[in-house]
């Protein structure tokens, strides 16, 4: 197998910025899998409180000024990670995911006083994650939910961010935590149960072997990528969790545009959502529907949005510019300058495009490009949504829940406030990941 080992219990095999292929070729996948399964047995004996304690300790340590990882997190725009790893966040995620009873990960529990059945959330074993290159952070979010469920993990990373996970895992291995019983724990108990690999996405044989090793297959990626993984052979009983392609949009109601200041706040929140992950996420907005009739009309809102994106750009510039995307953005900028209005940075930092006659969803262009479109009513966006719509960010007051109901009925999976679109959480894509990473076992 032409698979490169990037991390295992012995530590990282490549530097944070190194090329994926610079990792050593994996000698034996079965041997690695056996090692992971042994580590999983040790992890399964660890109380959930200790797992959360270790992750929380990492979150606290990594934001300390002077910590080697603090600068890395800032530079790589991974600021969300320490927030995600905090105990309070993970407890909420697990409680939601595990029917309100995350303690079922430690043993049998009753889910309700009136329910005579005891239930336990049993780790499934080895989770193989296929990660996409668009949002490297997702690897850690996927992994931590699996570690909390006490599974072993094999992560196949994308080429463009291959060194990130090994670097973060090396830092996690160094974390020390004193639990409630006064015992000192090392992050290694978690990282021993993790390995990171890279294989070319066209390497069918490698993908096949990884698939056959999995108790759960978690696939993040484009339609082609997730379909390829779904079609790989797997053992009977292997669970699949597919996070395929989705798109997102935002809706601004007239009542939130009652004045320039209010509109500016919405624009700032939206700019932050569009700038996160450089608009590469399935939760990134591309088209913004602005209800007509507010004191600030859609065209004026486009201008406010431009100012807000410019502020975001100064704070955190666009990290990567693809020349092909540059050409696409420039063509759009030119077209909208000619037949509508176009705003943009001097270089490729961001763009806002508006034309009075435009309707419907724009084809996503990324590179922090937002299309502003006027609608007579916020409910006009409902027919534009489907099961492929992941997030509809809402800046809507009284009609918010009614609109969310209509959107949910169309297949939309998230309706957060604008400004919270970029925040990952549970459920995601309509499912609770941790729930899918355990077997529910009944007793009594």
């Amino acid at each position: 197998l032409n698979v490169h080992l990037l991390y295992d219990g012995d530590g990282p095999r490549i530097g944070p910025g190194a090329a994926a292929q610079s990792g050593p070729v994996l000698e034996s996948l079965p041997r690695l899998v056996a090692r992971l399964r042994r580590a999983q047995q040790a992890l399964a004996r660890l109380p959930l409180d200790d797992v959360l304690g270790l992750l929380d300790a990492a979150a606290r340590a990594w934001v300390q000024p002077g910590h080697p990882l603090a600068e890395y997190l800032r530079r790589e725009r991974l600021g969300f990670l320490p927030l995600w790893l905090r105990r309070a966040n993970l407890e909420t995620v697990l409680a939601r995911s595990l029917r309100g009873h995350p303690e079922a990960l430690d043993g049998f529990v009753y889910l309700a006083a009136s329910d005579a059945m005891l239930l336990r959330a049993q780790p499934r074993g080895l989770v193989v994650h296929w990660l996409a290159g668009n949002v490297p952070l997702l690897g850690m979010l996927s992994l931590t939910q699996s570690l909390a469920a006490k599974n072993a993990n094999l992560l196949k990373v994308a080429r463009n961010s291959a060194g990130m996970l090994p670097h973060l895992l090396a830092a996690l291995a160094e974390v020390a935590y004193c639990n409630r019983r006064g015992e000192s724990l090392s992050g290694r108990v978690l990282t021993e149960a993790v390995a990171v690999l890279y294989a070319d996405r066209n390497d069918v044989e490698a993908a096949r072997e990884l698939s056959l090793a999995a108790d759960v297959r978690v696939a993040w990626g484009s339609l082609e990528a997730v379909q390829t993984i779904a079609n790989l052979p797997r053992r009977h009983g292997t669970e699949d969790v597919i996070f395929g392609p989705k798109t997102s949009l935002a809706v601004v109601a007239a009542e939130r545009l009652a004045g320039a200041e209010a509109a500016r706040r919405v624009a700032a929140a939206l700019a932050a959502d569009a700038s996160a992950f450089d608009q590469q996420g399935c939760n990134s907005p591309h088209t913004v529907f602005v209800e007509r009739g507010g004191a600030v009309d859609p065209a004026a809102f486009a201008q406010l949005l431009a100012e807000a994106l410019d502020a975001e750009q100064r704070r955190a510039p666009l990290a990567h510019v693809d020349p092909a995307a540059t050409m696409q953005v420039l063509a759009l900028r030119a077209e909208y300058a000619m037949r509508g209005r176009a705003y943009g940075s001097h270089g490729m930092g961001w763009s806002v495009l508006w034309a009075d006659e435009d309707q419907g969803l724009a084809e996503p262009c990324c590179q922090r490009t937002l299309f502003v479109r006027g609608v007579p009513d916020v409910f006009a966006v409902v027919p534009l949504c489907s099961e492929q719509t992941q997030t509809v960010g809402l800046a809507v007051d009284d009609r918010r829940l009614a609109l969310a109901e209509a959107l949910a009925a169309r297949g939309v999976q998230r309706c957060p406030a604008i400004g919270a679109m970029r925040l990952y959480g549970a459920p995601w894509d309509g499912l609770f990941l941790t729930d899918r990473l355990v077997r529910w076992v009944s007793a009594g």
Partner: protein, 382 residues
């Protein structure tokens, strides 16, 4: 043909453009050229903005006032894809003598370029002026490696047809060496062999599109063990390298094999860089294998992230500038090609100004993971 004062920036500007076309093409140093072109482009673009209101809005949005332009790099370039999205014209429909269109990739809208008389004539003369400096003046037999149908008369003309017509002033006679077939044009070997038998001893010109030359002509000629032994041949080829790059075909390989089949020196196999959006403005290989900008045109290579011009030795997106168009806003066009700016004023061939090498067609390389809905859109469309 002189443009009327109302057509593009006043008579003084038009005269200067005509002088540039008539004069030596590669004699001006870049510093001098920058000053001259900036001033002329400012006039031409200001006038174009008045006559083509969408372009005026583009300039207003993305550029500074033309009067403030200090160098050609200050002219905001139109991305070439805009000609696929919008029909941009600076002349009334009755003044349009021809509409050019690009071959276009499957499923893509082709570019549409409208030409008035002034632009069409000027493009023809400019092409002659440039080619004269590479292949010398005078007519010679021309073998076109394409089917005659590609230059069919009419108001609309493809990129290939426009290029072939542009070579007419060098041709006596023109022979089409291919026939339209079901799978595209196929070599007409009897015509080709007859052409070389009749004219092979003297100077002659062969023209074809790069991909056709490689895949249809050279491959088949080698298969037939053809060696034409025509040392006076100049092969001019132009067109996309995308398919050839996919097959890992280099310019050097094509040149060597073409020279071997035709029996001419490799220095007489010339790659021309140009596009339907700027017909007449061609960048032809010099003896050192570099492409130079003629007097009435320029080239800028820009960084993809900041769009700032790169310096010698750096790669960038190729922008081509030209003073030729007066019927559409084609003065500064950002192509979808990447190249290497090799140097300025110091090419071993002696030509002045910037010189560059073509690199590759820009293609979207990175998949966009779970945020990539293009496949879903395509599926929904099906």
């Amino acid at each position: 043909v002189k443009a009327a004062p109302s057509e593009a920036g006043g008579i003084g500007v038009q005269e200067r453009i005509e002088e540039l076309i008539r004069g030596p093409q590669y004699a001006m140093r870049q510093a001098e050229k920058d000053l001259l072109l900036a001033a002329l482009l400012a006039e031409v673009c200001r006038d174009m903005a008045e006559r083509c209101p969408p372009y005026g809005r583009f300039l207003e949005t993305w550029g500074s006032a033309p009067a403030a332009w200090q160098s050609p790099a200050d002219v905001p370039p139109l991305p070439v894809a805009i000609f696929k999205r919008l029909l941009l014209s600076a002349v009334p429909p009755e003044n349009v003598v021809r509409e050019l269109h690009s071959s276009g990739t499957t499923g893509q809208q082709p570019s549409r370029i409208v030409l008035d008389k002034t632009t069409a004539f000027r493009q023809g003369r400019a092409l002659v002026a440039v080619l004269k400096e590479h292949i010398g003046p005078g007519r010679r037999p021309l073998l076109v490696l394409d089917a005659a149908e590609s230059t069919a008369a009419g108001g609309s003309l493809s990129a290939s047809g426009a290029a072939i017509r542009g070579l007419a002033p060098f041709a006596s006679p023109t022979v089409f060496g291919m026939q339209a077939g079901e799978g595209g044009a196929e070599p007409d070997w009897s015509t080709i062999e007859q052409f070389f038998a009749r004219h092979g001893a003297g100077p002659l010109l062969v023209f074809g599109f790069t991909y056709v030359v490689w895949s249809r002509f050279l491959a088949a000629a080698e298969g037939r063990a053809c060696r034409f032994r025509a040392p006076g041949t100049t092969l001019l080829h132009s067109g996309g390298w995308k398919k050839l790059a996919e097959q890992a075909v280099t310019k050097e390989a094509l040149t060597a094999r073409a020279a071997a089949v035709l029996g001419c020196p490799a220095t007489q196999v010339l790659d021309m860089y140009g596009m339907v959006e700027q017909v007449g403005t061609v960048f032809v290989d010099c003896e050192a294998g570099h492409k130079h900008a003629p007097a009435f045109a320029d080239v800028i290579l820009r960084r993809a992230d900041t769009l700032q011009p790169v310096g010698p030795g750096e790669r960038g997106i190729i922008e081509v500038l030209s003073l030729l168009p007066s019927s559409y806003p084609g003065q500064a066009i950002l192509t979808e090609d990447e190249g290497l700016l090799v140097g300025v004023d110091d090419c071993p061939c002696g030509r002045k100004g910037k010189f560059f090498r073509f690199g590759r067609r820009i293609e979207r390389a990175e998949p966009r993971g779970c945020g990539d809905v293009r496949a879903l859109v395509a599926e929904a469309a099906r």
